[in-house]
């Protein structure tokens, strides 16, 4: 006899999603199972529609089930082409021989896990967006980037600044977080809003690493790229703990007195990001314990705050973190005090 569950028929996905995010453990498990089944039904409908020549929303066709990533890794075979290369590994497939493919796959998984487990965010767009990585991009290429169109590109290094970029979990987290920022605050990639965009990626890239390693704020290195820097950038690319001291070329300021006015690099987005980076470090270490719990949640609330506009400056973002701390943990609590201390440490008066 077929068992019919009315819950699966009448409960809208939005309500199931809320239960999956905030329900008790057994409710959450049930909601996740139902959403996964619901996703399958929707996928079937979409595929039927496709066969009938009806154009479905691409995201719905490609997105993964709730609570799990939908990763695809392509091998660009050292080509400069930005079109998708050879399919190297899709979601659920076993590891392959190529370490770069597996590193990207696993790093995306770790990043998805942080955002889902801690912030209940379902992928880049919170709607199950596919996570697409392109490895072995170009030749002698020491860079990784987010293209603004749903793809992350990773080079194999230039033997000077970087080695193979996929070896770094925090770099992978950094790039995927650019996608999260695009789908939340959508911070313009120039001047202070661009520096905040970069900082948010460093903050959550570091949290991805800390969460995967089970490190507290006190145990973490707070370094970015220590696994992938080449000889010119040893020992690390950036430090949230000590901006300006990560390597011999590091010129990041640690406070507003040292703010760098420049037209290069979109107005110094990778330079002045040191200021909000250090504020986060002070907040997290002042609160203590796991940085992703209180400090990470405050920063995640801030990038989703409707008052944080695309051209947001440091002060407006700082005020958003203060609001988030007050609302989530209570004004006058240790979290709110820590946020104030963090921005004071970088000489930004709230």
């Amino acid at each position: 006899m077929t068992h019919r569950c009315p819950l699966r028929c009448i409960v809208p996905p939005g309500l199931l999603l809320r239960v999956a995010r905030s329900g008790k453990e057994e409710e959450r498990d049930a909601a996740l199972r139902t959403l996964a089944l619901d996703h399958t039904f929707r996928q079937v409908r979409v595929e039927r529609a496709t066969r009938q020549g009806i154009s479905p929303p691409t995201r719905r066709l490609l997105s993964g089930p709730i609570g799990g990533p939908h990763r695809t890794i392509y091998d660009q075979q050292e080509s400069d082409a930005t079109e998708l290369g050879r399919l190297a590994r899709a979601e659920g497939q076993p590891a392959v021989e190529d370490p770069a493919v597996n590193e990207a796959y696993d790093g995306f998984g770790d990043t998805y896990k942080l955002f889902w487990d801690v912030f209940k965010r379902n992928s880049i767009d919170d709607g199950g967006m596919p996570i697409v990585g392109l490895v072995h991009y170009s030749q002698h290429y020491g860079n990784a980037f987010w293209d603004g169109e749903g793809h992350m590109f990773f080079g194999d290094g230039d033997e000077q600044l970087f080695t193979r970029l996929t070896k770094s979990i925090d770099v992978i987290g950094h790039e995927l977080t650019h996608g999260v920022t695009q789908y939340t605050a959508n911070l313009v990639y120039r001047d202070q809003s661009g520096a905040l965009n970069e900082s948010v990626s460093d903050v959550f890239g570091s949290l991805v690493s800390q969460y995967a390693k089970g490190q507290t704020a006190e145990e973490a290195s707070w370094l970015i790229g220590e696994d992938v820097v080449g000889p010119a950038l040893l020992p690390a690319l950036r430090s949230l703990k000590a901006p300006g001291e990560a390597n011999p070329h590091d010129d990041q300021p640690a406070d507003m007195d040292q703010f760098v006015n420049t037209g290069e690099d979109n107005g110094g987005v990778h330079t002045n990001s040191g200021i909000p980076n250090h504020a986060f470090y002070v907040v997290a270490t002042t609160i203590g314990g796991n940085a992703w719990e209180a400090a990470g949640m405050i920063w995640y609330d801030a990038i989703r705050d409707a008052r944080v506009k695309p051209n947001c400056d440091f002060l407006a973002f700082a005020k958003a973190t203060q609001r988030a701390a007050d609302l989530r943990f209570g004004a006058g609590g240790k979290e709110a005090d820590a946020v104030r201390a963090g921005w004071e440490a970088v000489k930004l008066a709230l």
């Binding site: 400069d80 990784a144 169109e149 000077q160 790039e175 650019h178 996608g179 965009n197 990626s201 690099d265």
Partner: protein, 105 residues
């Protein structure tokens, strides 16, 4: 222009590191085959329209930007382009320069 030596200066900015990289090159320093390859690439590229391609999509981050100065005989050109706008003819020239590049703060 074919066969004429070229002096090139490159400044690369942006990228995940945000560290400027600079390089200079006189094709007379290269072996004949490599110098001819660069000369041919410079002959093939339409310098007047470099950088006119579509820029990176809104939301893109950590992409590279290049400023390249080319001096050949009496002529001097400076072109500026994002990595998505790089003409395919220039890619091997940029790679040759980047192999010589040093941090340039």
């Amino acid at each position: 222009m074919a066969g004429e030596h070229a002096q090139l200066s490159l400044r690369r900015t942006g990228g995940l590191a945000g560290l400027p990289m600079v390089a200079s090159l006189d094709t007379r320093e290269l072996d004949t085959e490599e110098a001819e390859a660069i000369s041919a690439a410079l002959d093939a590229v339409d310098l007047a329209h470099v950088g006119e391609g579509p820029p990176a999509a809104p939301g893109a981050a950590d992409m590279l930007h290049y400023d390249l100065e080319i001096r050949r005989g009496d002529r001097s050109d400076t072109v500026s382009f994002g990595e998505r706008q790089m003409p395919p003819e220039l890619a091997p020239v940029i790679r040759t320069l980047m192999r010589r590049a040093q941090p340039g703060r």
